[in-house]
Amino acid sequence: MKRKFKIFRYDPQKDKKPYYKEYEIEVQDGWTVLDAINHIHFYVDGTLAFRRACRSEICGSCAMRINGKNRLACKTQIKFLGKGTIKIEPLPGLPVIKDMIVDMDPFFKNLEKVKPYFIKYSPLPDEEQLQTPEEREVINEAAICILCGACTTSCPSFWANPDYLGPAALLKAYRFIFDSRDEGAKERLEIINDRNGIWRCHAIFNCTEACPKEINITHYIKKLQNLAVNSEF
């Protein structure tokens, strides 16, 4: 079947302004958007640039805006995108390097701010630290975030203010604060209990809608907000 793709193009070495370019290609049954743009890149227009690696929804490289919403290209089946032209653009809210390539540095810098690593002060056992399946379940969903950035870049609070840590970084904070083994809750709470932290979340839900791993990010941010409030009393 032939499908039309309208793709955001911008090469800072050549273009003053971005523009959209249309490609019409034959797509096969079962193709994802990634298959289609790979095909365009391989056989139609080699100058097209985008990121991808695993093509199996786990590395987080291929997040982009497809028909106006953040999704993983490798997860998005073309047949579920309706009949019309498919519009492909870079993630919103981050500076564009070229075509679908955005500068992810602001995203990772925000992540680094929440001390996104296991913290333990008391001595470790020789073997493993115990954690029951129930305790693990609390953070299980949060721990499978693939750092694709679809959430943070869909958040209007982040668009307004890139200093906002954003849902991905807050989710990471949750993953550690609510880990029964971790001992860094206090220092992390101090970081996220901030104008640019949890209080910038207005429950807009774009993040949760965008998350390709279907993580209910908003829910976890709410947990953090409640924890911060509780600790005031």
Partner: protein
């Protein structure tokens, strides 16, 4: 090294974002109305005549219409506000879309029929 460029984000809005935009605009409208309202009701302190005169001046069709609009703003902000509180404290984030539609229906149901009270 070329600096990457920022472009204004355009995004397909889902109910959550619509709710937020309406809630925010509504909240702003309400706070500005509240400022006016407090000044106007202060005419109460000036005694019955002054107050009634002001109220009379404010009962033109235009003001009636605005008042009806205000009622709509209040309803939406109030019901969506409850939705937000449920999400915040009752773990209702999974049901946020359903809650939005409930809030929206309540808002319409109480707002549209109320028109006759203002115009008739």
């Amino acid at each position: 090294m070329l600096k990457p460029k920022w472009f204004y984000p355009s995004y397909k809005k889902d109910v959550g974002e619509w709710a937020w935009i309406l809630h925010r605009l509504g909240g702003l409208a309400l706070i500005f109305y509240l400022f006016l309202h407090i000044f106007v009701t202060n005419r109460l302190a000036a005694g019955p005549e002054a107050f009634n005169a002001t109220m009379k001046a404010l009962s033109t069709p235009l003001f009636k219409f605005l008042e009806w609009g205000l009622w709509g703003v209040i309803l939406f902000h109030a019901f969506n506000g409850i939705r937000l509180v449920l999400v915040d404290f009752a773990g209702a984030s999974k049901y946020q879309k359903a809650l939005f539609w409930i809030a929206f229906v309540l808002f319409l149901a109480l707002w549209i029929p109320a028109a006759w009270k203002f115009f008739i």
